[in-house]
């Protein structure tokens, strides 16, 4: 679980980080949730914020993000939940660039997956292990 700087440290604080964990644990199961260290208000920025994704200093952005990458790899987790748009882009890029092999998912993806209503076209960020899980019923479009 990435604690987005803008939502946690810069705005709502640790109480919000707890809410995020409550939701995440409800959808993936407490036994499947692994925290990074450090976390919550003390978490490291992923390196995608402040306009960095568009600033053009790509090498520096990835060097910045190496700390985040190492933090994620240290958990051994298959998925990193990124409940922020910037974080999602950056953490996804870090996995590809440093060949971490983890998947980066939006929180909305896991919420709908756990409710059994994640449609076939809404699974772009899931790995093979979850790609077919709890697939809801579909029908041919009526003309």
């Amino acid at each position: 679980m990435q604690d987005p700087c803008n939502q946690v440290r810069k705005t709502f604080g640790d109480a919000y980080a707890e809410d995020l964990r409550f939701v995440a644990k409800q959808v993936v199961g407490e036994e499947n949730f692994i925290d990074m260290t450090p976390n919550r208000s003390n978490n490291y920025c992923c390196g995608g914020g402040g306009g960095a994704l568009q600033a053009g200093y790509t090498e520096e952005r990835r060097t910045y993000g190496k700390i985040k990458f190492d933090q994620i790899m240290a958990t051994g987790a298959t998925y990193c939940i990124a409940p922020c748009h910037n974080c999602h882009s950056q953490i996804h890029d870090l996995s590809e660039h440093y060949e971490g092999g983890y998947h980066t998912v939006h929180l909305w993806t896991l919420i709908c997956l756990s409710m059994g209503c994640l449609g076939p076209n809404e699974r772009a960020y899931l790995g093979e292990d979850l790609a077919e899980l709890l697939m809801p019923e579909t029908k041919e479009a009526e003309e």
């Binding site: 920025c45 922020c84 772009a124 029908k139």
Partner: protein
């Protein structure tokens, strides 16, 4: 008894520290640095371009504004506030960074951020990817129709646009409607499941604000005003934006 105060001759050089102090509550504590280095040891941008937060602050304190402006570091720092969070004196280094960005001539600021800001200023959609009000409405309605027609149990899914008096006005990052529209659907489903009274708006629908990252105050203000007016015009009680 103390001697008369020592006077240091020479012109005072710094403007950064003064300007930033003026706009911050209690002056942003900028002159309270203990040089402990907690900021730098916990900053992922430490070492990039040979800079770190403590060095940056010390340079500002010494009036080395010109040298600061020669460094690209202000654009590599993400203004994440971790330095301020761990600082025993709560020194507002991120604000110093913002001011440094603002001190760059606009045309020299990073092209990508500048282009995204300029694009957002083109339409009242405020989209940094240039998607217009009509584009957004078309994509949302198109995706919604497909879900209703193909996903069992979601025939009544809603994605309201310009719904007067809705409780929540929800912003959407441009990336979804422009490059991966199906990613909007899970959000709609969640809002539907919990029975939220929400709406998108054609005006000001885009969540991102690169003018803020560009440190272009006037453009940043404009973007926020367009969005805030859109929320007000629809009579929505809450404006939901996680950017």
């Amino acid at each position: 008894m103390a001697e008369e105060a020592i006077k240091i001759s020479g012109k005072k050089q710094s403007t950064f520290m003064d300007k930033v102090r003026e706009v911050l509550p209690e002056g942003g504590n900028l002159n309270l640095c203990l040089t402990c280095g907690a900021c730098s040891s916990g900053c992922p941008a430490t070492g990039l371009s040979g800079m770190d937060p403590r060095k940056f602050l010390r340079m500002a304190a010494l009036g080395l504004d010109e040298e600061i402006l020669k460094s690209d570091w202000a654009w590599q720092c993400t203004m994440c506030w971790r330095c301020m969070y761990v600082c025993p004196m709560k020194i507002d280094i991120p604000q110093l960074i913002y001011h440094t960005r603002k001190s760059w001539p606009r045309e020299n600021r990073p092209k990508g951020i500048r282009g995204s800001c300029d694009m957002a200023l083109k339409h009242d959609s405020c989209s940094a990817m240039g998607a217009s009000e009509e584009d957004f409405k078309f994509v949302v309605e198109d995706v919604l129709e497909e879900v209703r027609n193909t996903q069992v149990g979601w025939e009544d899914l809603q994605a309201p646009i310009n719904k007067q008096g809705a409780m929540f006005y929800v912003n959407q990052n441009s990336r979804e409607p422009v490059t991966e529209p199906d990613e909007m659907v899970p959000l709609w489903k969640i809002l539907h499941k919990v029975g939220a009274d929400w709406t998108y708006g054609t005006k000001g629908w885009a969540a991102e604000n690169y003018c803020m990252f560009l440190a272009d105050d006037a453009a940043w203000k404009h973007i926020v005003e367009v969005k805030a007016k859109a929320v007000d015009d629809l009579g929505c009680k809450y404006w939901v934006n996680t950017e």
